[in-house]
């Protein structure tokens, strides 16, 4: 029973963090609307959320890393490779973003030698990240739908059904 409630809390935390990362990503993907300062500070803050995401899925990462060359089903293997690609691509986005930073690093008094290549790498890796995020979402779609049903739609439905019951009683 205690174990079940622990899993339930962990799933809820995962869902909240994932939704926050997703929203942060959508905001940072459009720097012309959010502004360069928001784009850079939010993306840097997202590192903490990404670390939390990895920590919450740590057991899965360790399990698949150990068994990767042995007996693992194809979907887990594809998922694992995709996660590594996401991690590497995310790192390239961060690195190239820092190299062309116009707000965060100047604010911290750091200036880096600029290079035209960093901007194109930043754009390229961000566009690739969008596709990889789509694949990542697709591979976890059942989990996402299930978690939304359990923690978002059902509680909302319960609120409405108790309200209508109260209305009938009144």
């Amino acid at each position: 029973m205690e174990n079940q409630s622990k899993i339930r809390t962990q799933t809820k935390t995962k869902l909240v963090i994932d939704v926050l990362i997703f929203i942060a990503f959508l905001i940072t993907m459009d720097p012309h609307s959010s502004g360069i300062a928001v784009h850079e500070w939010l993306a840097t803050a997202a590192i903490a959320a990404l670390v939390a995401h990895l920590l919450l899925n740590w057991d899965w990462i360790v399990q698949i890393t150990r068994r990767f060359l042995g007996k693992v089903n194809t979907q887990s293997r594809i998922n694992y490779i995709l996660n590594w690609l996401l991690f590497i691509d995310g790192t390239v986005i961060m690195l190239s973003g820092f190299m062309i930073s116009e707000s965060l690093l100047p604010f911290l008094g750091i200036s880096l030698p600029g290079n035209f290549a960093w901007r194109s790498w930043h754009d390229l890796s961000a566009n690739l990240f969008l596709i990889l995020l789509g694949l990542h979402t697709a591979l976890h779609w059942i989990w996402i739908v299930d978690a939304f049903k359990r923690f978002v739609f059902r509680p909302i439905g319960r609120i409405f059904s108790t309200r209508s019951r109260k209305d009938i009683a009144a």
Binding site: L26, M29, D30, P31, H32, S33, S34, G35, I36, A37, V51, L54, L55, W58, F87, I88, T91, V92, M94, L95, S96, E102, P106, S111, P113, G114, N115, F116, A117, W118, W121, L130, I131, L133, G134, L135, T137, A138, L139, W141
Partner: protein
């Protein structure tokens, strides 16, 4: 303590990937492109000829819901990728379930 160790592992891998990416990109680009002159990186800009306005390359205020277009575009790309993978998967699963039911 366990969590701290895990965070250190993540940061160590992050640093290694950053190092490799930095070397790879710098090596690849050093032969093909020049370094951006300092005046283009936030310093004083040269005035444009004939009093023209310099080309704008930074933040720009968007009017008329420009951010919504960007937002929808990005969500749309993700949605298309998700649909391309999940819809055939669902059909396949239903087909298998149908065969098993018969």
């Amino acid at each position: 303590m366990k969590i701290l160790g895990r965070i250190l592992i993540i940061l160590a891998v992050f640093t290694i990937v950053i190092g490799v990416a930095y070397v790879a990109i710098n090596t690849g680009s050093s032969s093909s492109s020049a370094t951006v002159p300092a005046f283009e990186r936030g310093g004083e800009r040269f005035p444009a000829p004939d009093g023209e306005r310099p080309e704008f390359d930074g933040e720009r205020p968007e009017f008329g819901g420009g951010w919504i277009v960007g937002f929808i575009k990005n969500i749309g790309i993700i949605a298309v990728v998700v649909a391309l993978i999940t819809i055939p998967k669902t059909f396949k699963r239903r087909k298998i379930a149908g065969f098993n039911a018969q």
